[in-house]
Subunit: 349 residues, 2 copies
DNA sequence: TTGTAGGCGTTATCAT
DNA sequence: ATGATAACGCCTACAA
């Protein structure tokens, strides 16, 4: 019988039904079955029904690996973030996953640990898999990384920041403008000796510091001695230490702009510890506006950034590009919002 | 010339060198080249060198999709966590990524959002890809989920918790014991009316509450009226609200055990707001011991859990099983540690 | 709209 | 230790 070859064919496969089985049962050719699944509108209603029934009967599920090999495309969307131990990126990822609801795409997540070389390595690995899209954090990719992204032949979105010449698409905001806006608010509230506390000092932190300089200089308040930064990773404890160092050496300090919210919380705790009234003796502002900021006593000022939306939108842009929808804007600036609370109500008079 | 078919073969592929190209250049058959890369010890030193040279010369990199199809195995390790907006899992993931250093495996991350049905859906998708291993959070998988995991034909690790009958392997600790230990400490410190504040109330939270009951009942202090829980997701703000509700309705309350650190921080802020001295008037303990706890003013007590280690070890166990190393322990209990600080120093006398 | 032919790049099988 | 052969399961290109 010609059925014998069917047996011998079984040598390797564990026996899961293939699209050929579906086709046979539906009485069509494999390619028609394939089309019925991927491009239903290109198949007559009748055959489509037959195929659907066969799929149902056999419990057929397509093999993503075979599909990937044949079409040189996977359903993987590579995402590279610089940190996982950071609520900021957790929110971004949440937005991305939400955008993927009901979509047949998988996120492949890479953690570059704020190291450009690691980002290159990850991109190399990711690109090899022929992903449907790639999303990277920041705009400071190395030349090599940019080249990989350009050659990847898929939509690319840079997130968290905006800047000139996107690789492909971009969604973020200006950290420099945001930094300047906070500091201008502090100045408007009456603070004068406004220090800067910064940890990690990755490119985006650097640009927030730039914004700080912009605002301080334009007000004639610039003074390098009230800036304290470290490449060490941020933490609440670090915020305490840095604040204490700065407050100790700069007697007149009356406010601090912290690089992020963890540092700001640390500064608050240290003020409580040193019995420095906030906001009367010291004003405190953070960055990102994590949930805890509004709940602190006193409530802590911060800069609200649209992390979830950046994640959501970046993924939507990627999906749109994958489906070859026309791209409306290559660079989307989501802006920011000052969330000024009790901790910057102004110095005691 | 026979070279013509080489040209026509170029129709589809973008032209990246394949293993056939390597083999040709090295003067060996494709399968030998393949072996030289995957199982070097099975190929003579000479040919191995030739192949290596050819790989180098051509800049050959294997196609993971083709490899997956041919071997019905990917280098993907599926990981499902219930939340991303949660430092707890960020630490776990960090451990996992660290364990993968220098390994040729990719993490495919899924977020079940604390929904068993979503976990099932993700597992279905993941299993389809024939992953090298699967790691899931908790021990409360549905029957369907367990079946999928069992049929996946790859190592499976359940993390965050220990319990009877693992699907395959397990690494975690007893939330119930940990909960009981904290409360016993509070009692030993002199607190009597110890409330429980719980958010989300996922299975692990439930078991912490169980531990609370264990300790309270054994001391004859049990009182359902000083327990407040909600299925709502945890937050600092929620901690404030829940504490205020509980403190308002339970006059004698002198301490709270919070389900997690965010709630504990919220409780602290609310105490500051209500001018209730901590720890003299109210003792506060959290769970997880996030970094901020030690930095708070006063420093906040918590239960130290080995999140990073759970991530690291679970991945190492998975890798070991993939490489078919003998499994020493199927269930690893990493335990916990009380981190008792100022916030539970005892009631004022 | 449907089908035929063949290839995608690699590895398992079996023989030498 | 090495190689010839045949999958792996699906999809692109082209034809009908």
């Amino acid at each position: 019988m010609t059925r014998m070859d069917r047996t011998s064919r079984r040598r390797r496969g564990a026996g899961r039904p293939t699209i050929a089985d579906v086709a046979r049962l539906a009485g069509v050719s494999p390619i028609t079955a394939s089309r019925a699944l991927r491009e239903p509108q290109k198949v007559s209603e009748e055959l489509r029904g037959n195929v659907a029934a066969a799929v149902e009967a056999l419990g057929y599920v397509p093999d993503p690996n075979a599909r990937a090999l044949a079409s040189s495309r996977t359903d993987v969307i590579g995402v590279i973030v610089p940190s996982l131990t950071n609520n900021v990126f957790a929110d971004v990822l949440r937005g991305m996953y939400d955008a993927l609801e009901g979509q047949a795409y998988q996120i492949q997540l890479g953690n570059s640990r704020y190291q450009p070389a690691e980002e290159e390595r990850l991109l190399t690995t990711f690109a090899r898999q022929k992903p449907s899209a790639l999303i990277v954090s920041g705009i400071d990719q190395t030349e090599t990384a940019r080249a990989i992204l350009q050659d990847a032949d898929c939509p690319v979105v840079q997130i968290m920041e905006t800047g000139p010449d996107p690789i492909d698409m971009m969604v973020g905001f200006s950290h420099r403008d945001a930094g300047a806006a906070v500091v201008r608010h502090l100045i408007a509230s009456g603070y004068r000796r406004i220090g800067f506390i910064g940890a990690r000092m990755d490119p985006r932190s650097q640009r927030r510091l730039q914004g700080y300089h912009d605002a301080m200089d334009e007000a004639g308040l610039g003074d390098p001695s009230i800036i304290i930064t470290t490449p060490a990773p941020s933490s609440v404890t670090l915020g305490r230490h840095l604040f204490r160092d700065l407050a100790t050496r700069s007697a007149g300090l009356d406010a601090v702009f912290c690089n992020n919210d963890d540092l700001a919380l640390g500064a608050l705790f240290e003020c409580q510890n040193m019995a420095l009234p906030v906001p009367g003796r010291v004003g405190i502002a953070g960055f990102n506006d994590l949930e805890m900021m509004a709940a602190a006593t006193p409530s802590l000022s911060s800069v609200r950034t649209y992390r979830y939306d950046m994640g959501l939108l970046s993924m939507r842009m990627a999906l749109g590009a994958i489906q070859e929808e026309p791209i409306e804007e290559r660079i989307v600036d989501l802006g920011f919002e000052l969330a000024m609370r009790d901790s910057t109500a102004g110095p005691a008079t």
